[in-house]
Amino acid sequence: MNHNPQSSDGKQDDDSALSDFLASLMDYAPTIPDELVEHYLAKSGFQCPDVRLIRLVAVATQKFVAEVASDALQHCKARQAAVVKDKREKQQKDKRLILTMDDLSKSLREYGVNVKHQEYFADSPSTGIDPASREE
């Protein structure tokens, strides 16, 4: 990182904050392993011998996953709350929080990722057509 001798105190604080953060990354490993991140970064042509940058990418990715997952969790809880209002007895059963494609696609839409899950898969093009027209 560049250390400009004429920089103001604010900039020096920012630089030191960033370098402190990068140093702290080395103490606590993020959940996404370094090997996985390095594999995909190497595939994309990213070259850097500094492990701290790998950790930075891993932490950024983990943050992204956490945000998407927490948004999906909000959708899931909102859906369960709407259902539970009517059926109090089934409340105990519905306590399990499941990550579904529905909630995931809703939360990903806000991040600009369009994920649509197939409703069903048909065996052949004529599935679901009236038997009379199918014979034709």
């Binding site: 990182m1 604010g10 900039k11 920012d14 630089d15 904050a17 960033l18 953060f21 990068l22 702290s24 990354l25 606590y28 490993a29 993020p30 959940t31 996404i32 392993p33 090997e35 996985l36 991140v37 594999h39 995909y40 970064l41 190497a42 595939k43 994309s44 042509g45 990213f46 070259q47 850097c48 011998p49 500094d50 940058l53 930075l56 990418v57 932490v59 950024a60 990715t61 983990q62 943050k63 992204f64 996953v65 956490a66 998407v68 997952a69 927490s70 969790l73 899931c76 399990r96 929080l97 499941i98 990550l99 579904t100 494609m101 995931l104 990903l108 991040y111 600009g112 990722v113 899950h117």
Partner: protein
């Protein structure tokens, strides 16, 4: 985390059979994708989910892989734009800016900003500070593993004489004659049963070393081809 997406046992068995048959369709990325799935599942568990649908987990891990790949591509592009081969932290931060630009972030409109004071970096710092330390569940070896290239050896190395003056001695040596010997032993209708059996056995005896040679050649050839995947690490 338990799988809560299946309604009955039959569906579960069907899906297992399906995954067994898809084993033959092996993508080169399967190992990395499996690791990504475990990592994503761990993060989802820490957020509060108790189970997941398989399709949802696969979709999310695909997106994560795409995210890492895209971040690397953008950072590399920024570094090249600045006339560098190796990326530095500012390239990565700019790459993060581009990926999150749909949502917006604090400090983007400020012309005199220091990139280290951006909302993105602060968000990451806060996230890292708040979140608990979740270590990955498995020990991950370094991959892809690059096998050693088993060289066949040149004429000169083997101490053999090339079969003619037109063949230089630094070329790889020919394989042993046993591996490519062809005995004409095609059975036709006029031959007796015992002869056919004998010829069949001889054919099989010849075919086995030929098969081994072909396998060895393909094996060595694949090693040479696959080494480029791990060639990024110098």
């Amino acid at each position: 985390m338990k799988d809560g997406g299946f309604e009955n046992k039959k569906e579960l068995e069907n899906s297992k059979n399906q995954s067994k048959s898809s084993k033959f369709y092996i993508k080169s990325d399967d190992f990395a994708l499996a690791i990504a799935k475990v990592a994503v599942a761990q993060v989802c568990e820490s957020v509060g989910f108790q189970s997941f649908q398989h399709s949802a987990l696969e979709a999310l891990s695909d997106i994560i892989v795409w995210y890492i790949y895209n971040l690397g591509k953008t950072s590399n592009f920024n570094a090249n734009l600045a006339g560098r081969v190796e990326a530095n932290v500012f390239d990565v931060i700019q790459g993060l800016e581009e990926l999150e630009s749909g949502l917006g972030f604090a400090g983007a409109s400020d012309v005199n900003r220091c990139v280290a004071n951006l909302g993105i970096v602060r968000d990451i710092v806060h996230f890292f500070g708040d979140g608990g330390d979740i270590t990955f569940a498995y020990e991950v070896p370094w991959f892809p593993v690059v096998k050693e290239w088993k060289r066949i050896g040149s004429f000169w190395e083997k101490g053999e004489d090339p079969h003619g003056e037109h063949i230089p001695s630094w070329l790889p040596a020919f394989p042993d004659p046993d591996t490519y010997a062809t005995q004409s032993s095609v059975g036709n209708g006029t031959m007796s049963a015992s002869n056919e059996v004998k010829n069949g056995r001889v054919e099989r005896k010849i075919e086995r070393p030929l098969l081994n040679f072909q396998q060895q050649f393909a094996h060595n050839g694949n090693e040479g081809g696959s080494s480029h995947v791990g060639g990024g690490k110098g």
